[in-house]
């Protein structure tokens, strides 16, 4: 018999504390101008990808369903966030309140799309969600690519073809993307959003809802037999996951002066998936570290840009092969034991 690792809740608190400490340190270093400009420019994207990875981890690691179109939810958040900021800019003067409103609107819209996708797909058993989200990501990208929205004192005007004569100023101009009125994102907002997302996921996983979702992943037939409505719990997790990706999208968009739909393509979805798989399915700590590393690394290795997706693919395959290899898993366990034993000995020697 094996004792159940009840350390997870302690681990989560440690992770949360570590994130707060590191982020605070970085925040003050950034304020004091001690960070290189390239790194300081990466701070918001790092927060964005941490949220993306955490959100995808909820779907892939905890719910056990594959989503290949997470960038689609991100783009819905991004574009609706821009629309919200532009049209509410007059009404809400305070930039922080405006940003919060945009984040909420982006999250809710992404959640609605998650819900609509979930209605037919989450009833099915199997990898249908992967196929449908893959298609969803591509469709959203292409729809946004030919969406034209303008604003004038009468309100918003939209069309789906380039020749349309729309009154007023363009907010979204087809393939040229959306114009962001003001840069509302900053590291402080990203920091707080990361903490909120972490808290929501941790609390969710540690409640009856989280138990139900893990039970459904472990054994759906048994879960049904004890009265769990499988579809509704899958839906809850997936909608929360989509909402968080939408919020990350808003944070991302408000960090630039313009955003294009093609930024939220299949490659972005796969990059986030790589973060989750590399960090370890279901591990929040792992997702955070992987998101930080994989956001900074490509900037450092600019020359390798052409090969990045190739390397990601190879790494994904390797991780999957290794994690399904019993001998490797056994090796990992013995290694862990040896290392802890070593530390124990050292401590004992000190005493």
């Amino acid at each position: 018999m094996r004792l159940w690792k009840s350390k997870t809740s302690r681990q989560n608190i440690i992770t949360l504390a570590a994130v707060i400490i590191v982020f605070s340190a970085v925040f003050f270093m950034n304020q004091g101008g001690m960070l290189s400009s390239s790194l300081s420019g990466q701070l918001v994207p790092i927060c964005v990808y941490i949220i993306m990875a955490l959100s995808l981890n909820l779907t892939v690691g905890i719910l056990g369903e594959l989503s290949l179109g997470h960038a689609g939810f991100m783009s819905i958040g991004a574009f609706s966030g821009v629309l919200a900021v532009t049209s509410l800019g007059q009404a809400i003067g305070n930039p922080l309140l405006l940003m919060i409103a945009a984040i909420l609107i982006g999250g809710v819209l992404a959640a609605i799309f998650g819900f609509l996708i979930g209605i037919p797909v989450l009833r099915l058993r199997g990898d249908y969600l992967a196929i449908v989200t893959l298609a969803f990501g591509e469709i959203i990208k292409n729809v946004l690519n030919c969406l034209y929205v303008t604003i004038d004192p009468d309100g918003l005007h939209a069309a789906m073809f380039s020749g349309a004569k729309l009154p007023g100023k363009f907010i979204i101009n087809g393939p040229q993307g959306a114009t962001v009125p003001e840069k509302l994102s900053n590291f402080g907002i990203g920091f707080v959003l990361v903490i909120i997302v972490m808290l929501i996921i941790m609390n969710f996983v540690h409640s009856k809802e989280g138990r139900a979702i893990k039970a459904i992943r472990d054994n759906p037939i048994a879960a049904e037999s004890v009265g769990l409505n499988i579809t509704s719990y899958k839906m809850k997790a997936f909608v929360i996951s989509a909402a968080m990706a939408g919020m990350a999208g808003v944070l991302f968009a408000m960090n630039y002066s313009a955003i294009e739909a093609k930024k939220f393509n299949f490659n972005t979805s796969i990059s986030v998936l790589v973060m989750v798989v590399l960090g370890g399915m279901g591990s929040l700590r792992g997702s955070i570290v992987a998101a930080i590393v994989l956001t900074i690394l490509p900037e450092l290795l600019r020359g390798f840009d052409d090969y990045r997706m190739l390397i990601y693919a190879i790494v994904l395959i390797l991780v999957m092969i290794l994690n399904s290899n019993q001998r490797f898993l056994q090796f990992k366990i013995t290694l862990k034991k040896k290392i802890t034993a070593m530390f124990r000995k050292k401590e004992a020697a000190k005493k």
């Binding site: 018999m1 159940w4 009840s6 929501i200 609390n203 039970a215 048994a222 049904e224 037999s225």
Partner: protein, 287 residues
């Protein structure tokens, strides 16, 4: 049709056999003429049975007779081709498995189905899920109400585990328990859903004689203390004859005998189903 070619069938008792104490109370299960076909194969046919409010009923029969299929029909895992199921007077037709559970049927599985990666106590907490009254928002915010409901749930789980003698295993990983303990945990999880009847599919399979004896005791205590009905499938005749008050024997999807343990033991059709024609003849000459 089925009446005509049933030459080997013993006449079914027309009266319903349930324990005396349950007479006059609404039976927990009233199954009428239930049947299911898988393609060309008729797995169950004309299954009619009434289970009293606090009865311990047995379902026996040779391998492949259709016993597990009946449990799957009762829990709406399969939709019946014919017949109806009344659960405490309510027809369960069209309900989902989860709804049937909330209406009062809990079960265990022949091939154990635990939430193997979760702790023992969390397995039971999942069984308790629908009686934990805490909204999703309250859960996400970890409000004081959340802590209150979680604490109450934990206490109740430990109580239930203790009932089956497993309180000391609460923090172990469910999938790592010995076989017998896993079977008992499935029972605890099922009890946590507050059923009106619990269906046990071969609960003694893989248990040693002393564990089986303990299980018999537990089954009686489940009936007495929870005041619910138990229906069990079992190949261990000592257990079946020892705890069951009414027994139905199934062969090739049809009931070939119903009665008390004594009636079943001495029923020639049952002996023939288990031992074959020749075996039954030998048995008779020995007797």
């Amino acid at each position: 049709m089925s009446q005509n070619n049933a030459t080997k069938m013993v006449p079914l008792p027309t009266d319903v056999i349930i324990p005396e104490r349950d007479l006059g109370k609404q039976p927990v299960l009233d199954i009428r003429n239930l049947g299911i076909d898988f393609g060309g194969l008729t797995a169950v046919d004309g299954f009619t049975l009434t289970v009293g409010k606090t009865e311990i009923a047995g379902l026996i029969g040779p391998n492949g007779a259709g016993k597990t299929t009946i449990f799957n029909l009762l829990t709406n895992v399969y939709q019946p081709t014919r017949g109806s199921i009344l659960l405490q007077g309510i027809d369960t037709k069209g309900m989902t498995t989860a709804q049937v559970n909330r209406m009062g049927i809990a079960r265990t599985f022949q091939n154990i189905r635990l939430f193997g990666g979760m702790s023992v106590i969390d397995n039971v907490k999942v069984g308790l899920h629908n009686s934990i009254k805490c909204s999703a928002l309250s859960s996400i915010l970890h409000t004081p109400h959340y802590y209150k409901t979680e604490k109450a749930a934990r206490a109740r789980c430990l109580e239930l585990l203790d009932f089956m003698g497993m309180a000391d295993m609460a923090q172990y990983q469910a999938g790592s328990l010995p076989y017998g303990a896993q079977r008992r945990l499935e029972i605890v999880r099922a009890l946590a859903t507050k059923p009106a009847i619990i269906l046990l599919d071969e609960p003694a399979a893989g248990m040693n004689p002393s564990e089986t004896a303990e299980l018999m005791d537990h089954i009686r205590r489940i009936r007495d203390e929870f005041e619910i009905a138990v229906m069990l499938i079992e190949h261990d005749m000592n257990l079946v004859m020892g705890v069951c008050e009414g027994i139905a024997v199934l062969n090739y999807g049809k009931i070939i005998a119903k009665g008390t343990p004594e009636q079943i033991c001495n029923n020639p059709a049952v002996i023939e189903a288990y031992l074959g024609k020749k075996g039954a003849a030998d048995h008779a000459s020995e007797g």
